[in-house]
């Protein structure tokens, strides 16, 4: 795939639509997303009795307990591939910190006041880092408390600590993903980007202007500065 505007589809002003996510990335993202939803629901069922009924969705308590760790493993493996692909584009830059300091402008839709954003904004980058850390935490603590295969190899103190860490990481991740999902609903065009793969030039210009500059430079007939 290339970041350059793709031929074929055209945006409103005759500029071609811009590919934001390839079919591979979209598939990978939705495998992670699906696994996350299933892992979160089956995990919450074991966390608070008020939502134990969620275990019914998985075939009852024992099936919930059996399936949850495997779903979690699937999520970790799929996310590892996804994260490897976008890690380089998620490094925090000075302009990202400035963006975060103006978070009130962000949530008030005063985008014109914000520093220019590259392929990902600082909020998206934070979601990326939180997801990486939480999934590492969930994977390691999850192995320790996986009663069917691994728990017998760990001391009881370790199992107790892992139980708390597992719940904590899951809590942070669930809240973060709710923000992530909401942001996609809030910023129109984002869901299309992850389902169809493309966004309009105006969308990129508005939300990711530094990336738009890169793209227009790349399509212009002159050598790339890098």
């Amino acid at each position: 795939m290339s970041d350059a505007p793709s031929a074929g589809t055209t945006g409103p002003q005759h500029l071609p639509m811009i590919v934001r996510y390839t079919a591979g990335q979209r598939t990978n993202h939705w495998i992670v997303a699906l696994a996350f939803v299933l892992a979160a629901l089956s995990g919450l069922a074991l966390f608070h009795p008020a939502v134990f009924w969620l275990s019914t969705l998985f075939g009852g308590g024992p099936w919930d307990r059996i399936l949850h760790p495997f779903i979690g493993l699937l999520m970790c493996v799929a996310f590892a591939f996804y994260a490897a692909g976008i890690a380089a584009q998620n490094r925090m830059e000075p302009r990202d910190w400035a963006w975060l300091r103006q978070i009130s402008d962000v949530i008030s839709n005063r985008e014109e006041r914000l520093p220019e954003v590259g392929r990902y904004n600082a909020g998206q980058k934070l979601v990326f880092y939180v997801a990486v850390l939480c999934l590492i935490g969930l994977l390691l603590s999850g192995i320790v408390i996986w009663r069917a295969y691994f728990a017998q190899y760990f001391p009881i103190g370790g199992i107790r600590l892992a139980s708390v860490l597992h719940a904590l990481c899951a809590f942070v991740l669930i809240c973060t993903i709710i923000v992530h999902i909401y942001a996609a609903i809030w910023v129109k065009g984002s869901i299309r980007a992850m389902i169809r793969g493309t966004v309009t030039p105006g969308w990129v210009w508005k939300h990711h202007r530094a990336w738009f500059r890169e793209l227009t430079r790349a399509t212009h007939p002159r050598p790339r500065p890098d």
């Binding site: 002003q13 500029l15 009795p49 009881i156 910023v187 309009t200």
Partner: protein, 304 residues
């Protein structure tokens, strides 16, 4: 082992009141008293437990100890633990302790259990596992301060001593009590057992066991299985009987305030998103943005 003839006062993973309209006038809290100073290690109680509960553990290997099998399991709910201890005078003391569920007043297993009704506490103090509701997660193992519950490899359910709740419910004493040849095991109301223990302790002290005492640890609200120990100041001599057992602070946080707090925060996060949308509205891209993009694409060299 669901028993309607015993009243349930606490039920795992349940936030509403238990069915407790009946007031058991005659039934007070029961207790098993294990007098380690009278125990001869005959294992009759182990056999009685196997017989009554139809349990047959696999044949293990002899590692040169009287303790057999080596540990509690899904089909060994009580076990004589043999400790050879050299006392300060250089003499050997053979400290034998019948291990099994302590039936805590504040049970860590019940606190940790995520499955509604898999663990119950009866009005008489017995803590019972209802295996048909058990999902096999092993949280009871994590919660127990005494390392008692065992998850079966065969059916992935948790098992432990029931204090013969089925026998007690119909006015019988637990099977192990019935079998004890020395009177080291006695069963009755908790008050009576404390009185009996006090007599035993007085006798032991008069015969040189200055530190003799009752093991009814307050950290778990007291237990419905109690020990008379010759060395109550050093319970750990008896195959690591914990000195001050408590539900671990980790388990208290995890299955205590963290539960409602985390769930509420998750719900509030989602609500915050909804109200942001209602108040601020979506961030949309319009024709002006497309036109601006077109303009910039036409003059890409322009510095930012």
């Amino acid at each position: 082992m669901a028993l309607q003839s015993l009243d349930i006062v606490r039920r795992s993973a349940t936030t509403t009141p238990e069915p407790d309209i009946r007031i058991p006038v005659g039934t007070r809290e029961v207790a098993k008293l294990i007098d380690t100073t009278k125990c001869i290690g005959c294992k009759a109680c182990q056999v009685a437990c196997m017989e009554w509960n139809d349990l047959r553990d696999g044949i293990g290997t002899n590692i040169g100890q009287y303790q057999n099998p080596h540990d509690l399991s899904d089909s060994t709910w009580t076990l004589m633990r043999f400790a050879e201890v050299e006392n300060t005078k250089g003499d050997l003391e053979w400290l034998i302790r019948k291990d099994g569920c302590m039936h805590c007043a504040d049970p860590g297993c019940l606190k940790a259990c995520p499955s509604p009704g898999a663990i119950v506490q009866y009005a008489n103090g017995i803590v019972d596992f209802h295996e048909e509701n058990c999902i096999g997660c092993g949280y009871c193992v994590t919660g127990c301060p005494f390392d008692i519950p065992r998850i079966s490899k065969k059916d992935k359910k948790a098992y432990k001593c029931t204090l013969c709740s089925d026998r007690v419910a119909v006015g019988l004493e637990p099977a192990c009590i019935k079998s004890c040849p020395t009177g080291a095991l006695v069963f009755g109301t908790k008050d009576d057992m404390k009185l009996h223990a006090a007599e035993r302790i007085e006798d032991l002290r008069s015969r040189g066991f200055e530190q003799a005492g009752l093991y009814d640890p307050p950290g778990v609200g007291g237990t419905h299985v109690m020990y008379v120990l010759h060395h109550a100041d050093q319970p750990q001599l008896y195959s690591d009987l914990p000195k001050d057992p408590q539900i671990s602070p980790m388990v208290r946080v995890w299955k205590g305030f963290a539960k409602p707090l985390a769930l509420a925060t998750v719900a509030l996060t989602a609500l915050a998103g909804f109200f942001h949308y209602v108040r601020v509205g979506p961030d949309e891209t319009d024709d002006h943005d497309e036109a601006a993009a077109q303009a910039m694409a036409d003059k890409p060299e322009k510095a930012p």
